[in-house]
């Protein structure tokens, strides 16, 4: 049995100006083949106007075990959220 085609991750942008979003993955011999397959597998119902395909091996992911320490810097800074500040109702919308 010969080698499997490499795995690609597929990202699609819908027509409403949103960012590309990961929709799944597929096997393909090369990038061009991956794009054609992505169209057939993931946009059969007008789901997208733009497709990115990325070799899965090229993706570097954060480690789920580091969930605590890795995101700690953002957890301790509640003042980054607007609700941290008490603005009197009289000031109006802000």
């Amino acid at each position: 049995m010969s080698r499997e085609w490499p795995l690609w991750e597929v990202f699609i942008r819908g027509s409403h100006g949103m960012s590309h979003r990961h929709v799944g993955s597929l096997h393909a011999a090369d990038a061009e083949h991956a794009l054609l397959s992505a169209r057939d597998v993931y946009t059969r119902r007008n789901e997208g106007v733009s497709i990115w395909v990325v070799p899965s091996v090229q993706i570097t992911a954060s480690n789920p075990d580091d969930k605590g320490p890795f995101y700690e810097p953002s957890q301790s800074k509640v003042y980054r959220h607007p609700s941290f500040f008490d603005i009197p109702d009289d000031v109006g919308a802000m």
Binding site: A29, D30, P64
Partner: protein, 328 residues
């Protein structure tokens, strides 16, 4: 269902669990989603590979009974619709293979296990599609039964599986409606067409009930798989729901469900109905269905005949890549 009789690899009580296993169960009990990189018990991983793999194989093998009628669809429109549906089934298979691959099994491994008979696919696809009305019955009953199971599975604990199910469910109701549309046309057509529709219902009714699997009241596998949230409802519960939903639809079509014991039970708020022949089910699952040999042969031929295409595309990609590197 598309995944039937999934043997579970777990079955530990709280006391027997390691701290890691207990923490894992807590996450599931809290409704959290498990992602590929997260720690998981080996039994969870193995059981899921078995279940998602069987589901994926069912989608792929499920193309065969319908593909049988693509060239013989009664109109060009029906043919285009059927082609689109069969293409969807290929897509559903691919979403599911990808979900299973995140658990560490390769696509080729799964294919090899299907072709060698070590992995199964749903019993329902071992029945023949003898007339055009069968294509209606498959969409209406088989996809209808599949939806019963797939809708709750959107909330399964394993993230990639859940996301695949969400995509599949979005597309599945087209399948059931196109089937019912065919049944309406046939049932309200000429006397000969009506008879074909009734015959299709007669042949697909019990095999559709078998899709949910035997009663799982006693099954330890079911209990473990439910604790892991990779099985959401009991087999009998889903079968009852399917019957309650389908009988009025058959009445609308003016067709008769082939069960003389079928009767509305006011007390339970559902129909009483006859069980399918479970001996037949086990035999079909073991590969003795009327079309079992034919289905496996079709899959083996597709794999063998496609070998040169896969090899050629790999060779072409390598040549292009080598040229690009040389030019840089």
């Amino acid at each position: 269902m598309y995944a039937q009789m999934i043997k579970s690899e777990g079955g530990k009580s709280r006391e027997e669990m390691s701290p890691e296993e207990a923490a894992f169960q807590d996450r599931i009990d809290a409704g959290e989603t498990i992602e590929p990189q997260d720690w998981m018990p080996e039994g969870y991983r193995k059981t899921l590979i078995r279940q998602i793999g069987q589901h994926a194989h069912s989608e792929i093998v499920g193309q065969l009974p319908e593909g049988n009628w693509v060239t013989r669809a009664p109109t060009l429109e029906r043919k285009a619709i059927l082609l689109a549906k069969v293409q969807d089934e290929a897509g559903h298979g691919l979403y599911l293979y990808c979900a299973a691959e995140t658990l560490g099994i390769s696509r080729d491994d799964m294919t090899e296990q299907l072709l060698s008979g070590r992995m199964k696919y749903s019993s329902i696809f071992n029945y023949p599609t003898l007339s055009w009305a069968d294509i209606g019955a498959v969409g209406w009953l088989v996809d209808g039964a599949a939806i019963m199971n797939q809708v709750p599975l959107q909330r399964t604990s394993y993230g990639p599986y859940s996301r695949a199910m969400i995509r599949i469910c979005k597309e599945e109701s087209f399948h059931q409606r196109q089937g019912f549309d065919i049944m309406m046309k046939m049932a309200k057509g000429t006397e000969a067409q009506r008879r074909m529709a009734q015959d299709a219902l007669d042949r697909f009714w019990y095999p559709s009930l078998m899709m949910f699997g035997p009663s799982d009241a006693e099954s330890v596998h079911s209990a473990q798989n439910m604790a892991w949230r990779i099985k959401i409802n009991g087999n009998d519960e889903l079968r009852q729901k399917f019957v309650d939903q389908t009988v009025p639809q058959a009445e609308f079509l003016g067709l008769k469900v082939p069960d003389e014991h079928l009767k509305w039970n006011e007390e339970k708020g559902g129909y009483d109905f006859s069980e399918p022949d479970w001996e037949e089910f086990f035999a079909v699952l073991k590969g003795a269905g009327p079309e079992s040999a034919e289905r496996m042969k079709a899959r083996r031929d597709a794999w063998d005949d496609g070998q040169w295409v896969r090899d050629a595309m790999t060779a072409h990609a390598e040549k292009k890549s080598a040229r690009r590197e040389a030019a840089e």
